[in-house]
Symmetry: C2
Subunit: 194 residues, 2 copies
DNA sequence: TTATAAATATGACCGTGGTCAATATTTATA
DNA sequence: TATAAATATTGACCACGGTCATATTTATAA
């Protein structure tokens, strides 16, 4: 019973997303205004909200696709042999996520997929990232007493913690990568620490 | 060179906060409108923003004070003897933090103290919580190969992860406390796991 | 007491995300 | 090809957080 998705619809949607990319690349994520997007795309404001439930939905698509690009690269890597590799591999993604306070906030807000039925693009990338990490963990010299999925979720939790503290005035004297190293060593190789 | 804080100022501020409490207790946090607060407090809208930089600042005060009450209770507890105790102790606080999606979002947004000079009330509670947890960890039968502060920060990271996943449509089949148990056992007692 | 300066309060106004009934366009049907 | 139904677009309008020049109150000094 699904039919009739007019090509006009696709075109409008693509135009909106393209305009958004353009604005973001010149002014940054936080500076994007719906008003400006529709103006650049030459459609009415209401059209925007006919295509996206809200502004965040558009940001999710755009930020999610950025994250996916990073995950593509990560999937092409050979499994990290130690925690330093882990951190080096994850660095570009974490750098993007902290590139703007606004970006980090949007990611945080949607990492839990809200209470919606639909899983949003960003929540999907989180899910995907856990699977990538779990794969690495199964293949590498890491503790096996805990399920790889749990370890992977833990790494994600630590990464978020590090990024959050990076924005924090109290805690940002310890560089983000240094802190990540402390966490990962303790989390992944408990027997080697001390 | 600081002087002249009129008692009128304190009165107005107190009135605003009291009105906010009143509204929140009857309609919830997410339903609070600045308009309604000033109306209840019988002041002009501009007055609100003369007392608080923005709406979030008020929410921070209110939510922060709630969290502080929980921390007061935690400080009165005897140190937890195992991870189950940990989870039981933390449960009321985590319950509050997830009582509303809006509350959790505000907390997340300010846990990192933003980029401001001033450390906000919520960031302070996070700092305080880490110290409480670190104290427990030093006193109890937990791994000593990692600094207590790092362990404590880890617990905080896991708690946030559990709460975020609790809101998530993909991951909420595993109850929040169950998940926390998995994390904490692996994090605090790596030798006992498996 | 009155003049003056500093602190506080006011409310009209603005920016921006989001809504919705009306209109226009496309597709399906006769 | 005409007409009806479904789908997409429009833009005036609203909600709500936040601003700021002006007015009012309070503290200080003569």
């Amino acid at each position: 019973m699904k039919k009739a998705v007019q090509k006009r619809t696709l075109a409008t949607r693509a135009k909106l997303i393209e305009s958004a990319w353009k604005i973001i690349s010149s002014k940054g994520y936080g500076a994007l205004r719906v008003e400006e997007v529709v103006q650049d795309a030459a459609v009415a404001k209401g059209t925007f909200f006919a295509h996206f439930p809200d502004k965040d939905a558009l940001m999710e698509i755009i930020i999610g696709s950025k994250i996916d690009t990073h995950l593509d690269a990560l999937e092409r890597q050979t499994p990290p042999e130690n925690t330093d590799d882990f951190i080096r591999y994850l660095q570009p993604l974490m750098l993007f996520m902290t590139s703007e306070r606004y970006v980090f906030d949007v990611i945080l807000r949607h990492s839990g997929a809200a209470a919606k039925e639909e899983i949003g693009p960003i929540a999907q990338t989180f899910d995907r990232q856990v699977r990538v990490l779990a794969q690495w963990l199964s293949d590498g010299p890491y503790r096996k007493d805990v399920p790889a999925m749990i370890l992977a979720e833990g790494i994600q939790a630590f990464a978020i913690q590090c990024m959050a503290l990076h924005f924090c005035a109290i805690n940002n004297e310890l560089p983000i990568q240094k802190r990540m190293k402390l966490y990962l060593d303790a989390w992944l190789c408990p027997q080697n620490v001390s």
